[in-house]
Symmetry: C4
Subunit: 221 residues, 4 copies
């Protein structure tokens, strides 16, 4: 009876956490592959800084680096997004007493979307003025939120949550996801006017949620 097999797999929350950490770590580090070292047409020989023209030669590289700043901002966005969802997933896994195969596959689907993140981030970095790229990025955020929500709901219904988990844990996590997703949707809607506005707003929202300043109402999101 194959159902026996289904009962013996996926029981280890520890290993689910381990592969999650691995995939998040690789995805976070691959984001940076999109930042290419600029290629200058000609390299200059080195002079002491007080020699004439020494500073002029540096200027070329300086300008090339300055042109990378928008990409760096998108990299930062990608890292913040992954960090946020890593924390969200961890908050769930930390409070499970055990896993099962359904829960494991929901989390694997979540990790599959996570591993696509370097692609969406690179797309947004390349096509910052395109609404299509912003839309793809937002669908990404939405999918991550919905899958975390599904994992939470399944864990609740299957009785996988630790008995000593703080009361209201699931409700707080759920509210958190819904509020964040609503704000993202609003930020993306502003992309009808300008995609730069949307990206800036999403970064601000995520920075706010990362820093969680002690100012009302900012600390409620």
């Amino acid at each position: 009876m194959p159902t026996t097999y289904h009962r013996i797999v996926g029981g280890s929350v520890h290993r689910l956490a381990a592969i999650s950490d691995g995939i998040f770590a690789v995805a976070m580090t691959l984001l940076v592959l999109d930042l290419h070292v600029p290629v200058l047409e000609m390299l200059h020989a080195q002079h002491p800084l007080w020699a004439p023209d020494a500073i002029g030669g540096e200027g070329q590289l300086w300008h090339a680096l300055a042109r990378l700043v928008p990409r760096l901002a998108v990299f930062l966005l990608g890292f913040l997004t992954l960090g946020m969802f890593w924390l969200g997933q961890q908050a769930q896994l930390d409070h499970l007493s055990r896993g099962d195969r359904h829960l494991t596959w929901i989390h694997l689907a979540f990790l599959c979307v996570v591993s696509l993140m370097p692609f969406s981030t690179a797309l947004l970095a390349q096509y910052e003025t395109y609404r299509v790229a912003l839309l793809v990025y937002w669908l990404h955020l939405l999918a991550l939120g919905l899958l975390l929500l599904a994992a939470l709901r399944y864990a609740e219904r299957a009785g996988l949550i630790r008995p000593d988990a703080p009361a209201g844990l699931a409700a707080a996590a759920r509210r958190r996801i819904v509020v964040a997703q609503t704000l993202y949707a609003g930020a993306v809607a502003l992309g009808l006017v300008s995609t730069y506005l949307s990206v800036a707003l999403i970064i601000l929202l995520q920075l706010n949620s990362a820093i969680a300043p002690n100012i009302r109402p900012l600390n409620r999101f």
Copy 2:
């Protein structure tokens, strides 16, 4: 006597699990490197969406992304395959009391095949209409199945399975591998007619086994 060395290595199931998680995580994330952000010939400046031509400019990127869909399907296939074998390996490792050097090398051979998966997946994505690519992918699946089977058999014979492991564990895992491999072989045989059919069938088989719907007889595979 070198055999002393042989006796002191490979005893840690914990570290075997750790390197397995690492290799699976990297292999799963490298799959996405095959999805390249499309290059458009000319970038357009941004206009508010109500400006004339604003939507026309987006269409170009939209079409470029649509052309990536078959590759995305192959990426999904690769991720599902790796997820499935990760679970299968985990089901074994979770129930071992200890390892030894032979078991470790069987699992390292398994991980070696796992680390080749991004290659086979990229090959299939590039040559979707070629039976040779499908054959390589299938040999890959077969090798993974056979190595898991070998690891299981060795663990049984060497008495490495935990005494408190559920009865019938090994038999269930074995049956599972044999059934899955038979179905894969059947799906690949249909590649004589069309490779698309084969790939679609393998994806469906794996999705079925991931979702394990509560419908007979689908939940038996």
Copy 3:
């Protein structure tokens, strides 16, 4: 109340350590991607070494490899730097009784800078004679030091340090960071004369701190 969510996330020092190990491991290994196998214009067929011209043919590859030595030195620098900060972070995490969301975000910011290291290292390898590249690398070092300092200060104030941590732990770690950063700043200042001098000095400082020879005053840094 979203603050409930804020209270339930980031409590696991174990998972923070796991994702840190993952990001450091990937960043350390990606450094090597910058070392490209040289491309020779024509490959020679193989002759036994005593055949005429056999050694001449090898010479070409030998010279191509010799030209990689400066890049190898920069790779070594990058690896040493990451190793040093990995140890520094570990020294902190090992002595925490628990984490919280603020601490986790400080460490995620630290890891974000870590994951940018392959970029800065490649930049320095490509533009060894440019002060701008050296400056970027130094800002990197500075950011890593400041973030570790911030994490330490926060952990102290939030009472996250284990009660059984050795007395003077925080003070020693703090002094260590300040001394190292001062020395780095001095080494970089010498870059006004020559960037090679700066890089050589930084490597020596880090080697000294890695080897920690039993010679006064070298073992004090």
Copy 4:
């Protein structure tokens, strides 16, 4: 006193094992990046296999894959080498009661050489007929062996080995490294005649040590 800092870092064998597993996992998986999917000049449309010319079209890809076999062999060599040294390092770490900063830096140097392995492996794959490439690979093997030996010796002298470690552990590990390195040196010496011979011999030696057949005298290495 900075020596306080030196005393508080590097104590965690667990985290040293974790970053080792991470670096080995990434290095093992990066080896495969050297296997490029072949590019055919023209793709063919798909016909059922019984249509005329269907098989001819496949032949092209088949030949392109066959040309990858030598690279696959070098990939296998790289994976075997890394697997062997991973096991060797694990055998040491498993029997340590604790670490210290010197031990950690010896292992970090070891990991640094490990992370260079994809480079040496790619070099050997590209320049199979060049003795220089073989020499670089061998220096790599030698460095790994010597660093493991240094780590072992240091652990013994600093009293870091667990009291319950099997007697003769260190002697067996040391003998193992010396025997293996002697055999490698012999195999490489044969490269004076033909590098293919050397590579084949090293693969055979490593396969023998991985499989450890129950045949005298093969099971003594």
